[in-house]
Amino acid sequence: MDKLLRNKKAIAVFIAPAFILFTLVLFIPVIQVVYYSFCEYGSLTKPEFIGFDNYIKLFTEDQTMLIALKNSFFFMIFSVISQQIIGLLLAVLLTNIKKGRNFFKNIYYLPCVLSSAALGLLWAFLFNPKMGINQILATVGIKGPLWLSDVSGFICLPMWVIAFVALWQYVGQNMMLYMAQIMNISTDIYEASYIDGASKVKAFFYVTLPLIKPMMITSISLNCIGSLKFFDLVYNMTQGGPNHNSEVLATHLYQQGFKYFKYGYSSAIAVILLILCLLVTFIINKCIKIDNYEM
């Protein structure tokens, strides 16, 4: 095997399929998008180079872009905090129970495998003023708010609602990642800590947490990137409305591209999104330091 891996031709043959696929479906389109972002391009006409005009317009004239940026950042921060804490908590709880572990694991993970379009529609029905939650509240004399329509506040209610639904849907994913990592930790380490007088809580902070740091970086990175480019639930529940108040970067991009045929402009939004994702990943990797331990 080692001999084979020293053969450069063999390496090239092994890498080639993935490299070609990666170049065709990712690398070339990314370069194209970057180029289009500097053009006025309506998809039906030829791209016309206009320099940084799209970017200047995005940040100086486009009010919806500012709303989308605000909402995307809110969504990212909310998702990271809530999904990481609850996901980790669930993972710790489930690894510590013997009976029903698989049952609860499947229950918590189930929303992850369901279609976001179907879930978006389901929750949109539940939060509709004429059906669902408000009807239940009305039976006990409480007038429910307009969950998906109230535009008051710096972060409007629909964004909180969507963030809550996303938490419900994706917390299982974080739980699974942490569970996999926690279950890899040797029980000897825990036993040693208990002999040294550590309680379960202390063992969590001084044994579990340091040892799951690598997974924490992966999980937080995935969470941040997923939140920044989040599209499906927003589109299915509010379509960015009312009046663009729940617009996020991906829905704004979609609207500019497919509704107004402004492919150059929407490419500029895509580039901003790409830069933000890279930036966030870089910051996370810089901020969380990993010490190598033997597990």
Binding site: G42, S43, L44, T45, E61, N128, P129, K130, L146, L148, S149, D150, V151, Q239, G241, P242, N243, H244, Y254, Q255, F258, K259, Y260, F261, K262, Y263
Partner: protein, 452 residues
């Protein structure tokens, strides 16, 4: 050996799955047409035998799930077409909901998968397909090849779909926007249909006092609110307003538009509580379910109202949008046609023309009026005793009409300009902008994008 066998089996199954994912569906029975990738649901009303020329038609409502009578009529048209041309032509239908129609159609156009025939609103939507060469010029077909068919259309019906003397679409029906009202609620509140805007506010207050929502309107589907705003703009300033905006001789910040936005703010306090979140369908349902006194809508709503609640027809009255005292001519009406556009890239022109003729033949046009409650586009004889009552009320209003105009958002410089108008009006309703700020936003858009 056993391991190798399992490995081979797994590899084969993975390869089969991967290759299966790449295949192009030719199953026309439920979801796709030949060689076309579709982002929307595809329906067909009967099976193609495989020998026919197949074409696609894209529409903004579900032909099978709908209760809308006009859509049901369109389903009949497709059924008849597929039956009549069995063995020769076959049409597959791509459907999507109204809110997502333009985006999905644009995605298909951008992917070079333009449906052979698709429905389209007049105004900037059609303009973008005309300017980009997506729409086929039908002038020669209509005036020379099919002059008999052309002769059946009513005068002036092609006006808003003609560009530089080129006819770019075929209208299928014609609708006018009015105020529908619930006669029972009006009786309970002791009010009569208002003639002026001030009377309308008074009527709204009395209906509110009687315990009903005075007006059902959707701000979530912005064009519904924008239609009310469009009427107010025209009632304040008349045709000069839209002409001035188009010609660049009038600014959005002029007194007339500020007044219209202020009127909208005043009127919108009488919308149902859930107006901000209700879709167009929900707002219409509030009305035919007897929860609201009035509904400002196009006559396409007749099919929806009567289809969903047939008993409502007897208590549904119609009046013209009220006048504004000191304003412009109150006898102008918002009208629009549903139009069929033929793709310039279609390889099945004859089949497309046959389909468009099916939509405008005597049977289809009679259905449009007598069942659907919309106004036909051809000179077909209509038995108004069979038609919904609301249609005859609208015909009465149309007799006094001195002029017509399109939806404001469909009469502006571009789809985005129309959306800017819609959004500004929604902001007035939400209170997130004053009337002055709202019209300033539209003006800013025009300064930067239209009059640059």
């Amino acid at each position: 050996m056993k391991k190798k066998f399992i490995l081979a089996l797994l590899s084969t199954s993975i390869l089969t799955t991967l290759l299966g994912g790449c295949k192009v569906s030719t199953d026309t029975g439920s979801n796709a047409s030949n060689g076309k990738t579709e982002t929307a649901a595809t329906e067909t009303t009967s099976e193609a035998t495989g020998n026919e020329e197949e074409i696609t038609w894209m529409f903004w409502d579900d032909l099978n799930a709908t209760e809308d009578l006009i859509t049901k009529g369109y389903k009949d048209v497709i059924d008849r077409f597929n039956e009549e041309y069995k063995g020769k032509y076959h049409v597959n239908v791509i459907t999507t909901n109204l809110e997502e129609y333009d985006t999905k159609l644009n995605a298909l156009v951008a992917a070079n998968n333009t449906p052979d025939v698709f429905i389209c609103n007049p105004g900037p939507n059609l303009t973008q397909y005309v300017e980009s060469g997506v729409a086929q010029d039908l002038t020669d077909i209509l005036k020379n090849e099919e002059s008999e068919w052309y002769g059946t259309f009513n005068d002036g019906i092609f006006e808003r779909i003609t560009y530089d003397d080129k006819i770019m679409a075929i209208p299928t029906c014609f609708a006018a926007a009015c105020v529908f009202y619930n006669t029972e609620i009006f009786d309970k509140a002791g009010v009569q249909p208002p003639e002026t805007f001030d009377e309308m506010l008074d009527v709204c207050q009395k209906i509110k006092d009687a315990g009903y929502a005075p007006i059902s309107c959707s701000a979530s589907t912005a064009w519904c609110l924008s239609m009310v705003a469009g009427y107010l703009c025209d009632r304040e300033g008349g045709p000069d307003n839209l002409e001035g905006i188009t010609n660049g001789t009038l600014d959005w910040t002029s007194e007339s538009f500020v007044k219209a936005a202020t009127d909208l703010k005043e009127l919108s306090q009488y919308f149902q509580e859930t107006a901000v979140g209700d879709s167009n369908d929900q707002a219409t349902a509030n009305f035919y379910n007897g929860e609201a006194g009035m509904l400002v809508q196009g006559s396409w709503a007749i099919g929806q109202i009567n289809g969903n609640n047939p008993e409502f027809e007897d208590k549904c009255g119609v009046f013209r949008f009220p006048a504004i005292e000191g304003g412009a001519d109150p006898n102008r009406m918002i009208v629009k046609t549903d139009n069929l556009v033929m793709s310039s890239k279609t390889e099945h022109k004859d089949a497309c023309i046959a389909l468009m003729k099916e939509f405008t033949n005597e049977t289809s046009q009679k259905y449009v009026a007598e069942i659907g409650g919309k106004i036909p586009v051809t000179n077909v004889e209509i038995d108004y005793s069979k038609a919904p009552k609301q249609l005859s009320y609208i015909q009465d209003i149309l007799k006094d009409t001195t002029g017509t105009f399109g939806f404001y958002n469909e009469s502006l410089a571009s789809v985005e300009a129309g959306d800017t108008f819609d959004n500004a009006m929604v902001e007035v309703f939400l209170g997130s902008a004053t009337p002055e700020q709202a019209v300033q936003k539209i003006q800013d858009y025009y300064d930067k994008n239209v009059r640059k």
